[in-house]
Structure formats: structure tokens, C-alpha cells
């Protein structure tokens, strides 16, 4: 399978998801269940993608755990996305000298 084929499929599906409702849908979703489902899906996806994968993301458990803990603490205090992301990475880098 060529990488180009993967890219075409990725880009095509992602574009259609954005374009079809944006261009053609004119009604409002009424079903509470459907609305709730769409509301919760992004959080579920991000969580399932992050855990446990984040612990393998640096190639070393101790540095990944340290970075994750820092990210969780900063995110808990509602710091900007970019601050949390870079601080997590920096923590993993610095603890890399210890572990």
C-alpha cells in the first residue's frame, strides 16, 4: 500500500465530514441522545487515544509518566493548551537525564 493512497483516504474522509454538513445541512438535530452522543465523542476519542499510548510516547516509562503528571496538573489549572503541551515535553526531556 502506498502512503499516497492512505493520504487520499484520510484527506477525503476528513473533508467530506466537514463539507457535507457545512454546505448542505439546514435543519437542527432534535434527538437528545444523538446530540449528547456527538457532544461526548471528542472527549472519548481523545481520552482513548491518549491513555495508555502517552506512556509509550517517549520510549521510557519514567519520563513519560513525569511528563503526563505535569500535563495533568497544568491542565487541571486550566493553563493554555500550548503551555501544557510544551511543559509536558520539557519535563520528559529533563527527567531523561535522571532516568
Amino acid at each position: 500500500m502506498t502512503i499516497a493512497a492512505y493520504i487520499v483516504v484520510m484527506a477525503g474522509v476528513t473533508y467530506l465530514i466537514r463539507m457535507l454538513p457545512f454546505a448542505f445541512f439546514r435543519k437542527k438535530i432534535k434527538s437528545t441522545f444523538l446530540k449528547s452522543l456527538l457532544y461526548y465523542v471528542p472527549y472519548a476519542v481523545l481520552s482513548a487515544m491518549t491513555i495508555p499510548a502517552v506512556f509509550y510516547s517517549t520510549g521510557s516509562f519514567p519520563t513519560a509518566i513525569a511528563g503526563t503528571v505535569i500535563a495533568l496538573i497544568l491542565a487541571y489549572f486550566d493553563l493554555p493548551l500550548i503551555v501544557v503541551a510544551l511543559a509536558a515535553s520539557l519535563t520528559a526531556f529533563l527527567t531523561g537525564f535522571i532516568f
Binding site: 473533508y15 481520552s47 487541571y76 493548551l81 503541551a85 509536558a88
Partner: protein, 241 residues
């Protein structure tokens, strides 16, 4: 810059201006994506093309791991559908706010740039959204996203392992920063996040034969369905991140 220039009523420039924080944020996050892609054996040009044609973080990250694992195109399509289906909701909501100058061709074009952050900026803007304004936000954001990817992928081939491995945390750090604050305030989201994480761990250790992409789909759909049944979203609660 003179006041007159800032006040210039060019919608495009206003969009560019409002999009600067997004562009900067994307620059650093996509740097992490570029490194992740390089680590998965994807070339700088391919990583650049993925970012240019997709403009999304979670979908691209999972897409790269499917490519690295040699998954099927069907798995790729399904994974992108599930991960990015939230954009349909945003597109829907945004479509209610469009100016009447937003004709069908403009909608085809601007739909490309519906991301969490661009949606957040556009949907909280006063009044209606004009095509040029949205193009401005999209332009600066895309610029940040593709140049960060390019730099990250190129750096991934040069930088020492201690740096690139630490940067592997950038995207996940951002994901945590997106899910943690609302989980604090909303019991339904907390439930969603914890149950999805728990199932994801169970999949990883007890069902290692399920590929990463499908595991994410199964876990997130089950978690979201349970949350929707147990904590149905009330009308007045707005989707805010």
C-alpha cells in the same frame, strides 16, 4: 502599526489577526506531529502533505500510526470518520452563523478549515461570519500547521533522540489540556474520559490483537454511548472547550 490599519475593515486581515494565537499553537503542536511522523518512517514531504490536506491533530496522529502499522484503507477511513465526526457537529453549528455572502462555492472551500480551534474563534465572533474573515483565520492557522510539520519532520531526522522522544509528548499534552478542564466541571465528560481510558487500557493489555485504530473506535463509541444514555446533555448546556 497605525490604528487606521488595524481598524481597516478588510475582513481577511481581521481573520488573520484573530488567527495568530491558533497559528502559533499549531506551529508547536504540529512540530510534535512532524517528529512523530518522521519516527514512523514517513518522509518530510509526505508529512507535509498529510498536514496540508487534513489539518487536524488527532486524526493525523492516529493516521500515522495506522500507516506505520500497515493497516487497511478501510481501517483508515473508519478511524478518520470516528475521530473527526465532531467536525460535522461544528460545521452544522457554524453553518447557522454564516453571512449571506457565504455562497455554496465559499462553503466548499471554507469547510476545509473547520477545526476545533477555528470553530471556537469563528463561533464566538460577534455577528455573522463572512467568507474572507474565515479565510483569514484558516490561512494563518494552516500556515502554522504545515510549517510546524515541515520543521518537525525535518528536525526528527536531525535532532538527537533525547529531544525527539521528549517531543513525542507534545500532542498528548495538548489532548490532556483539552479534556481535563471540562472533565472537572462536567460529570458526563468526566465519566466519558475515565471510561474511555479504562477500556483503552483493557484493550491494550487483554486484547492486543485489536489494532490501535479499531481499539480507539470501539472504546470511544462505547464510552460516548454510555455517557449519552446516563448523562443526556441538557438543552441549555453549550459545547464549550
Amino acid at each position: 502599526m497605525k490604528k487606521k490599519e488595524i481598524k481597516s475593515n478588510s475582513d481577511f486581515v481581521n481573520g488573520l489577526f484573530d488567527g495568530i494565537p491558533i497559528g502559533l499553537g499549531y506551529l508547536s503542536v504540529s512540530f510534535g506531529f512532524g517528529i512523530m511522523a518522521a519516527g514512523a518512517g514517513i518522509s518530510v514531504f509526505e508529512a507535509f502533505m498529510i498536514s496540508l490536506t487534513n489539518l487536524t491533530s488527532a486524526g493525523q496522529a492516529q493516521g500515522v500510526s495506522i500507516i506505520a502499522a500497515g493497516g487497511t484503507l478501510f481501517e483508515m477511513a473508519l478511524v478518520q470518520f470516528i475521530i473527526n465526526i465532531r467536525y460535522a457537529l461544528m460545521a452544522l453549528s457554524l453553518s447557522q452563523k454564516l453571512d449571506e455572502s457565504f455562497t455554496l462555492p465559499h462553503r466548499f472551500l471554507a469547510a476545509y478549515g473547520i477545526t476545533d480551534e477555528i470553530f471556537a474563534v469563528c463561533s464566538t465572533k460577534e455577528g455573522t461570519i463572512k467568507p474572507k474573515y474565515m479565510y483569514g483565520v484558516i490561512t494563518i492557522s494552516t500556515l502554522g500547521w504545515v510549517s510546524g510539520t515541515f520543521l518537525g519532520a525535518a528536525a526528527g531526522e536531525i535532532l538527537p533522540a533525547s529531544v525527539t522522544s521528549a517531543l513525542g509528548l507534545v500532542l498528548y499534552g495538548m489532548f490532556l489540556a483539552i479534556i481535563v478542564p471540562p472533565a472537572r466541571k462536567h460529570l458526563g465528560i468526566l465519566f466519558t474520559v475515565l471510561s474511555a481510558a479504562l477500556m483503552s487500557v483493557i484493550c491494550r493489555f487483554f486484547f492486543p490483537d485489536i489494532s490501535g485504530g479499531f481499539a480507539v473506535i470501539i472504546c470511544s463509541v462505547i464510552a460516548a454511548v454510555l455517557a449519552a444514555l446516563i448523562f443526556p446533555k441538557k438543552e441549555q448546556e453549550e459545547v464549550k472547550e
